[in-house]
Point group: C2
Chain length 432, copies 2
């Protein structure tokens, strides 16, 4: 852990303190992804079989999980986990439903009615990482809003295990949400399959979900292709920033920093506090708690880069946090709600001493697919809106055209677009 | 114009009929853009000066338009155009304001309050093309929602003319919206300046606006950079698809096809109708009207690729249109509103015989920055939401944590993330 006195840093040191680790040279990753894309584009399912053999060590005749396979796998999931997933889903439904946008109409002039339609994106592709730790919760986080949005076709890809099966808990979560089409495909080849379509995998209009650097690079590459799919957001290592005052319990704060650190050695962990005593107490408590963790080695590596920053005031802490734009922002403050107005850039905010990040990760109801690496300055987390698009509509009567048409003609001519003007004028001749 | 009987086409011919022209080999464009990026990143304003000299033929000491320069330029804009821009802005404000999202809160469990904050993206960059035809209206389309969203800093770049001045009408539109910082910068160098920041141009969090292929490639390249800016949407040539029935006035339909065709030789123009007689009448009318246009040469080239398609039924027309996902969709139908439910993919819809695309382009109130090239399957046009992001919030009491904490612990352990479980459990110990 790096202890930092913010006011002893000059501007360059401050920038360095807030810098994320770069992804390093990506050219090898990109080249590998491009090769996978070319193979899948050219050979479809045949390429997918070869790539799955090579990267997952699994021999698969078909990729789609059959209903019988689904039912048998789900039966092996402990009842307590199934109940927890069902419970989490209820709260996810409540929050996501409450935040759904609505259509509207407004008369912008007499005879000119303008509105907005909402429509589900027809075909969406969800990626749920598995491997060392299958992200069961991610299946819920993507499946719940996709179903609420009403997407026609929801495809979920998750890597097969070496025996050719999918993780049962991921299947249980998918089934619970109403996601019916699950494919045992991982890595860049899963993204390629959903981006181009193959004999068995439908081509998708938008791709969602986290993944390793190959998956991430593949999503960005797919989004760059002309006519390619949209993607939910750019992805990077997970992050937490805690703003704590002198009254924050060190046990809680330390546990929060560790729950981020255990994700991986590249996890970003930052504490900002106006209390020097809290820095001491949290540092001691982190050292105590980390020793008890099964993922101690990973957490310890991430903690090497953790920054415990003493600031002069909480106002300063918020200014730093907004510049950093953390994925998760925990406000371990005595009156946390009173500070909410100062938050301008963050993925998700946790208020008070009893809101650990784990609740948002799993079951408070909010979505855990959130912008990282400073993307929270411009991007939002996943919601039902991520699975919809809005379509503007204008209905214009004869009188409406007479009222606003001359305005369009004036601007069209200023832009040198006479045919635009004529499309109004020829109708106006009909009006008069 | 290509006349097509849809039901004489096999599946491959149908796909070919709906295919957009590819962008062709982009590698030269991308290489040129990368060189510009490297120069601007390394040398900032010095590079911008050299690039502006080279590409715009303008010698500029400073790029930002001064208040005096702004006032003097605006005074040269005809009063009738200024009045039209002001009138258009009023309706844009009405539609964009009516569609603004709101914050919300919902209790997902007793003691668990989850909500959503809305925050403006702090720094946004707007690009307004100039050159042969300055897109005055685009300044309004980007400026109005940026100001409504409440962005802290709104930067607008528009290419300088050879004499080093900016287009006065673009300045008038910017000033009308409340956009105060205008820079005389065009092409990939404008995008690079806003993506990286230079001595004089602020680094922006999100970039908006149309442009030529260099601008488009630059936006996409910027969005690919780790930590780079977000962009509004991928851009391609403009498009219109008209669905017309036997009652549609051929004069209107022809004018609509031509108002699209005059944009450029790569403009996409499609008519779908169940009336063979209408195809004949529209074709004749287009030939008559095109001869009267100042941009006849451009329109004629675009019309070579225009498709006039006879379908068996309007239902079939809507199925084709949704697959094509046009930027602009005109419903020249007797009961257009009754068909709205069949529209699933389009940028903006125009209802009836008195709603030419020109109204949406300029002054109905809806936004004209819309998804092209099939992106309307997954993307929406620009709105106030494009300039905001949502931030999820959870506030949890002791009782709330006791209620939902065990659910989080169960799922965390299924994912092998014990520190996540502990961040809940150590607090629960404090609760009891």
């Amino acid at each position: 852990m790096k202890r930092i006195e913010w006011n002893r840093l000059d501007a360059d040191a401050r920038r360095a303190c807030l810098a994320r680790p770069g992804a390093g040279d990506q050219s090898e990753v990109e080249a590998a992804v491009k090769r996978v894309f070319e193979q899948v584009r050219a050979d479809g399912d045949t390429a997918l079989r070869a790539l799955t053999r090579r990267f997952d060590g699994a021999e698969l005749a078909a990729f789609e999980v059959t209903p019988a396979e689904m039912a048998a796998a789900i039966a092996t999931v402990p009842a307590s986990l199934r109940a927890a997933l069902a419970e989490a889903r209820e709260r996810l439904l409540a929050w996501h439903r409450a935040g759904m946008a609505s259509e509207f109409e407004v008369d912008t002039a007499p005879g000119v009615r303008c509105g907005r339609l909402l429509r589900a994106i027809p075909r969406v592709g969800l990626y749920v990482p598995a491997g060392s730790a299958p992200l069961v919760s991610t299946a819920l986080m993507l499946g719940v809003p996709a179903v609420l949005a009403g997407c026609d076709e929801i495809v979920l890809c998750t890597p097969p295990r070496a025996d050719g099966s999918a993780d049962p808990a991921v299947l249980a979560a998918a089934e619970l949400c109403g996601v019916r089409r699950v494919f045992k495909l991982g890595g860049a080849q899963a993204i390629a399959a959903m981006a181009f379509g193959t004999e068995s995998v439908p081509r998708c209009d938008k791709l969602f979900g986290p993944g390793n650097r190959y998956v991430t690079a593949a999503k960005q590459l797919a989004a760059m292709m002309a006519g390619g799919p949209a993607i939910d957001m750019p992805a990077g290592p997970s992050e937490v920033l805690v703003i704590a005052d002198a009254g924050a319990p060190p046990v809680h704060v330390a546990a929060d920093l560790l729950s981020q650190a255990e994700h991986g050695p590249d996890s970003q962990v930052v504490l900002l506090t106006d209390s020097a005593a809290l820095v001491d107490a949290v540092e001691a408590e982190v050292r105590r708690q980390v020793a008890e963790l099964p993922r101690e080695a990973i957490a310890t590596r991430a903690l090497e880069f953790a920054r415990l920053v003493k600031v002069d005031s909480l106002d300063e802490a918020f200014a730093i946090s907004n510049e950093y734009a953390p994925e998760h922002l925990i406000l371990a403050l005595r009156e946390p709600r009173a500070w909410l107005g100062q938050v301008s850039c963050a993925g998700s905010v946790f208020l008070g001493d009893f809101a650990p990040e784990g609740l948002g990760d799993y079951c408070s109801g909010t979505n855990h697919v959130l912008p990282t690496n400073g993307a929270a300055r411009a991007w939002s987390g996943v919601s039902v809106a991520s699975f919809q698009k809005s379509i503007s509509v204008q209905e214009v009567s004869r009188a409406g055209l007479a009222a606003i048409g001359p305005c369009a003609v004036e601007i069209a001519r200023a832009e040198g677009l006479e045919a635009h003007a004529q499309s109004v004028l020829r109708r106006l001749e009909n009006v008069r």
